[in-house]
Amino acid sequence: MNEKARYLIAGDSSIVVEFGNEISEEISAKVRGMYLAIEQKKFPFIKAMNPTYRSLLVQYDPLQCSYEEILETLQGLEDNLKNMDLPSPNILEIPTLYGGELGPDLGSVCEHSGLTEEEVIKIHSGRDYLVYMLGFTPGFSYLGGMDEKIATPRLKTPRTKIPGGSVGIAGSQTGIYSIDSPGGWQLIGKTPILLYDPQRKPPILHHAGDYIRFVPIDQKKYQSIEEAVKNGTYEYRYFPKEGGAVK
């Protein structure tokens, strides 16, 4: 991690605040801190932000604020980061039906790891995953920290259409397809909840810096949640994670 952030120019309307050159929870926490510090100020000249693994992209309106001014403003906020009280990140619960038709590759993961289905499910749902960033498709999260024991290479031939909500493993990464898309991840289950719903407010519930928790459910529970989601009555489980330690 860098002692001081680097400020990189991304054209006339954006600046990148880069905290390091590796993927780590420590750097991710700094990105989140900077994001919240800027958000709290409600600067009228900030148009959008995009937090990623190791940097924060800040888009501003140069008609209101020159490059020199934004640089000075952001550096001032960075100096104050260590004094800032950060709210606890949130946990988003992902009820997941593992295996069966909706998780056709659970068997491959078992084969590759030498574990039983129950063991794979227990390991996969046994810890909270840090959301390093969102990208690829609306609501898709790049998650960190999967147990290497269940790491499995991608499919040799990607599928042309994977339904949104599918939970997969690719190498030592895990994730949830947020919309229907092609892809080569090993599918181990599916969630009936919508990570992205353009008609919902907000359309995407979670943010970079939050945590994802997979909760195993059975077929019956899957159907009842699916029904509730369809009717707009499902109450999403999105709540503060107390303390800082990862489960």
């Binding site: 990189l8 120019i9 991304a10 054209g11 006339d12 309307s13 954006s14 990148v16 880069e18 050159n21 590796e22 993927i23 148009k47 959008a48 932000m49 995009n50 937090p51 990623t52 693994y53 190791r54 940097s55 924060l56 992209l57 888009q59 140069p62 008609l63 020159s66 490059y67 960033m133 969102l134 990208g135 690829f136 498709t137 609306p138 609501g139 898709f140 999260s141 790049y142 947020s178 919309i179 992205y196 353009p198 008609q199 359309p203 995407i204 943010h207 970079a208």
Partner: protein
């Protein structure tokens, strides 16, 4: 209120506006128009707010039949517009009535036409925008490009239409598009991933727009740009106009439908004031990149904002 029947859809016509900049952090592409200048101009000619949703048409406009009174204007690429077979003009507002048919010839320079309707197109805003993002099937008209047989509802009432004074762009405010373009660009954010020779190559040699270019980005062909240690980085955010150079050394200008994050080095960013030129480039044309400072780029953006104001004040009123 009138509607527009699409009698023959062009190759790619979508509803676009400013896009969804605030949802990038959720992985949602921004979308929005490829040529901001023509977009704003079209709206101004019909008396709309500058950023009302419009039709963006690639290479060929749709054939449209109106069910009632309407006022529209076409801007952007050079093309012939016809009303009931009679030649009319782009860069000016046109009044039509029930039964009138509007058609287009292929664009002869530039790539994208913009059609603004007085009062706007009556489609719901999704996540704060009318822009179509086809990959996620969201926004615009049913989240997709227009097809033959579609019917778009227009928002203007007859009374509002009767009050509109038709406007025409001042000829000096109408851009021309050339097969060779110089784009100004600011170095960064990953210029330190390139050798000095690589940066000299980028700013010193012409690049050709390949046919593998669309609303997501323009893939360019030309001299290989040399990296210090490969083209991969830990993924970070991407702005419009970013020039990404993957390991093969060939640059890609990322545009409206780009992904929000990416893992390739970005050598430079095309300045905002020059992005409308990018949106009008066609395959086979050539680009030279010219290095400018961020201060010069911001000055150019102020001049661009002034140019829109001048466009507005210099519009000519037409009889009728």
């Amino acid at each position: 209120m009138s509607s527009v029947k699409i009698k023959m859809a062009g190759p790619l016509t979508t509803i676009q506006d400013k896009g969804r900049i605030e949802y990038q952090q959720s992985g949602m592409s921004v979308s929005g128009v490829m040529d901001d200048y023509s977009f704003r101009a079209a709206n101004l000619l019909v008396g709309n707010p500058e950023t009302e949703g419009v039709l963006e048409c690639t290479l060929l406009g749709p054939t449209m039949e109106f069910t009632g009174d309407a006022v529209f204007a076409v801007t952007g690429a050079t093309a012939q517009v016809k009303v009931n077979g009679q030649p009319s003009f782009i860069w000016r507002a046109i009044r039509v009535k029930a039964g009138d048919t509007v058609s287009f010839s292929m664009t002869t320079s530039g790539t994208r036409l913009y059609i603004a309707f007085a009062g706007g197109i009556d489609v719901p805003e999704v996540m704060g925008s009318k822009s179509t993002y086809m990959k996620a099937k969201v926004g615009g008209f049913e989240g997709r490009n227009l097809k033959t047989g579609d019917e778009l509802q227009l928002s203007a009432s007859e009374e509002a239409l009767s009050k509109i004074v038709l406007k025409e762009a001042s000829p000096r405010m109408i851009p021309s598009y050339y097969p060779e373009v110089t784009l100004r660009a600011v170095l960064g954010p990953q210029d330190d991933c390139f050798t000095k020779a690589g940066i000299n190559t980028f700013f010193g040699t012409p690049y050709k727009v390949t046919s593998d270019s669309d609303r997501m980005g323009y893939r360019l062909d030309g001299a290989v740009i040399e990296h210090k240690k490969g083209g991969d980085i830990i993924s970070d955010g991407i702005v419009i106009g970013a020039v990404q150079v993957p390991g093969n050394g060939k640059p890609i200008i990322l545009m409206a439908d780009r992904q929000t994050t990416g893992g390739y080095t970005k050598i430079a960013t095309v300045i905002t004031a020059d992005l409308p030129l990018v949106g009008q480039m066609r395959p086979g044309s050539f680009i030279r990149f010219q290095k400018v400072t961020v201060e010069a780029a911001q000055q150019a953006l102020r001049e661009y904002a002034d140019k829109i104001k001048i466009f507005k004040t210099c519009m000519l009123s037409l009889p009728g």
